[in-house]
Amino acid sequence: MRSIVMLAAAVALAAGCKDKAESVSGRGAESTGEVEIQGAGATFPYPLYSKWIAEYQKLDPQVRINYQSIGSGGGIRQIIERTVDFGASDAPMTEAELGKAPAKLLHIPMTLGAVAITYNLPGVTDRLQLSPEIVAGIFLGELKTWNAPPIVAMNPQAKLPASAITVVHRSDGSGTTAVFTEYLSRVSAAWKGKVGAGKSVKFPLGLGAKGNEGVAGQVKTTPGTIGYVELAYAKQTGLAYAALRNRAGAVVAPTLENVAAAAASEVASMPADLRLSIVDAPGKSAYPISAFTYILIYEDQMDTRKGKAIARFLWWATHDGQRLGPSLDYAPLPAQVLPKVEAGLRRLQSKAKPLLSS
């Protein structure tokens, strides 16, 4: 009995402290006019977002943005629960997820990413060329050795070994897997039927490695392996990566230009809510495993000051901020996409007034 009284006293004491602390910090923020914005989500664009945040801080010292790269799934959950001011996700939200949100959410494409097929084949110096059928065949376990006829036919000069192909895939749920499996589902009916697309899927074979660094480490240390990683990661770690035959029949390497070309060639089919998949894009130089990465934000912002600050930041990031992308291996949004992004940003409003003046 006594201990219960003590417990109650301790809890009351702790609660009192908390209230005090909150009121102090609240006053502080008011008086200096600072706006604090919380964001959370995808890990893929994190290096670019943190660069943007640091640069924007210099332009507008009053706005403090805090972005936590907890993963796209976490970003979606947190924006639905309104525990953050904006979320971020590599894959656009599904209808079911949008249905759970308490209000209308907007998707703002921020930058472009791509998935590179990386491999370890000692003695093969020229970039490997692969067709969609080969990639699907390898990841389905139908092509078992490196000197299988379809691979040799695409790469007649390469000295392909007779060794077994070891598949490495991501073990953690990730946007990279979502984009890659969406591509495979698009180009292979067998993949679509047996495995499907998602952030975590049941791969028919292979080793699971955690994170891009895990896949890269596995591929780097094991001859005969093939895996998939973010393009930026493949470039920065110096892994070999393949060129792919796209829908137009051209064999294209994953370069920033070819990724941007994929986005540009699909822009006509971009819907009003900006949710668009650009895998297997029709453009002649389009790299087929490309994707937009999105910021998720409520169309109607409850806090006008905060809403205005976020809207201005997003406008800056999708315009002036784009020049920071290439140095970090992110493809800038192509010019054709920009009017649609601007239209999306202009829909942001608070108390029935638009947040951006036109």
């Binding site: 003590m6 079911a96 073990s171 953690d172």
Partner: protein, 345 residues
């Protein structure tokens, strides 16, 4: 019953040799004044209440976690029922979830770790406690405790870049040549897999088992060693007849501590075990543990059933750990009552 156990802990502190079973049977050796309230002193009262609060806090936390996890996994419990425990499928796209490969992977990798780590760490502990010269005792003891302080992600990276290539190039082919007739050592040597997971875990739990066992052995009174030596025992016989039986229950406790770490270890294991939800007899094949799949998939999981299934895995891990701890308690208790062992630290 609890009272008896509580008082047994006091035995031996008075330096008198105690005969087996005496402590529980003779109430005369209890010291009631140690637990009686006596005069009420405000300081004592506050102290007692505060410590009671802390103790209650741990139990409440445990209960709150169990309740929360059960609630979070309600959907999966309802959908799959007991089939979840025996299901072998883990397909988030089709929302089919079964826990068996993860339960298997967790238990087998931890067991493998114990098989490797227990003999080695007991050897280390005996050397440090009984045989090594003083300066080695101090420096080696320090190094071993340092091993326990290395973050698991560092172990994992070492596993990817050093251990796995070594297993693939040297150890696994050799095992296959020598013992390839066993299903345990069949299949392509890939480096990463169940064996790599077990070895990494063994290295990680070795410092825990070794240093706790060493402390337990050091706590054995010197009079026992002297007695054995006086009777003409060799160093080995002294360790075997005088030290180990006295330290037995403490050593079992040390192993349990190590097992606890192995069961819950996430990062290092997930980096080398291959992360494949399959049950294979071969130690070379990739496997998966419960802690790993939760860490891998929880952050990106969307869909209520998927999240519930992951929570249920957490609940099962919780249950498995609890069950193993209970078994361990029983073991410590049993070992303490074996002939020749007084069952105390």
């Amino acid at each position: 019953m609890a009272r008896g156990a509580e008082h047994r802990a006091w035995d031996g502190l008075d330096g008198r040799p105690s005969r087996r079973g005496e402590s529980a049977a003779t109430p005369a050796r209890r010291r009631p004044w140690l637990s009686r309230d006596g005069e009420v002193n405000l300081g004592d009262l506050v102290f007692r209440q505060v410590t009671a609060l802390f103790a209650a806090g741990t139990v409440l936390t445990l209960a709150a976690m169990a309740i929360q996890m059960t609630r979070a996994s309600a959907l999966s419990l309802e959908r799959f029922g007991l089939r979840f425990l025996v299901g072998r499928d883990w397909d988030p796209v089709r929302e089919l979830f079964g826990a068996l490969p993860f339960i298997y992977g967790t238990l087998v990798s931890s067991l493998l770790a114990l098989l490797i780590a227990v003999p080695v760490s007991l050897g280390v502990a005996i050397y440090l406690a009984e045989l090594a010269p003083l300066w080695i005792r101090r420096s080696l003891g320090f190094v071993i405790e340092l091993l326990a302080a290395i973050p698991s992600v560092v172990y994992g990276l070492w596993g990817i870049f050093v251990l796995a290539p070594w297993l693939r190039g040297t150890v696994e082919p050799a095992l296959q040549r020598a013992l390839g007739f066993l299903p345990l050592f069949r299949g392509t040597p890939r480096g990463v897999g169940m064996l790599a997971g077990g070895v990494i875990l063994a290295i990680m739990i070795l410092p825990t088992i070794a240093s706790v066992s060493r402390d337990v052995m050091r706590a054995v009174p010197n009079s026992l060693r002297e007695g054995a030596l006086a009777l003409g025992a060799t160093r080995w016989e002294t360790v075997r007849a005088a030290v180990l039986p006295q330290a037995r229950s403490g050593i079992v406790g040390a192993i349990i501590l190590g097992l606890g770490r192995a069961l819950g270890e996430t990062m290092a294991v997930t980096m080398v075990i291959g992360n494949r939800a399959e049950i294979s007899a071969s130690l070379f094949a990739p496997s998966y543990t419960m802690a790993s799949v939760i860490a891998n998939e929880y952050t990106e999981a969307s869909g209520d059933l998927y999240l519930a299934a992951l929570s249920e895995l957490g609940l099962i891990l919780f249950g498995v750990t609890l069950a193993l701890n209970l078994i361990a308690r029983l073991l410590v208790w049993r070992v303490g009552r074996l002939p020749g062992g007084a069952g105390r630290l």
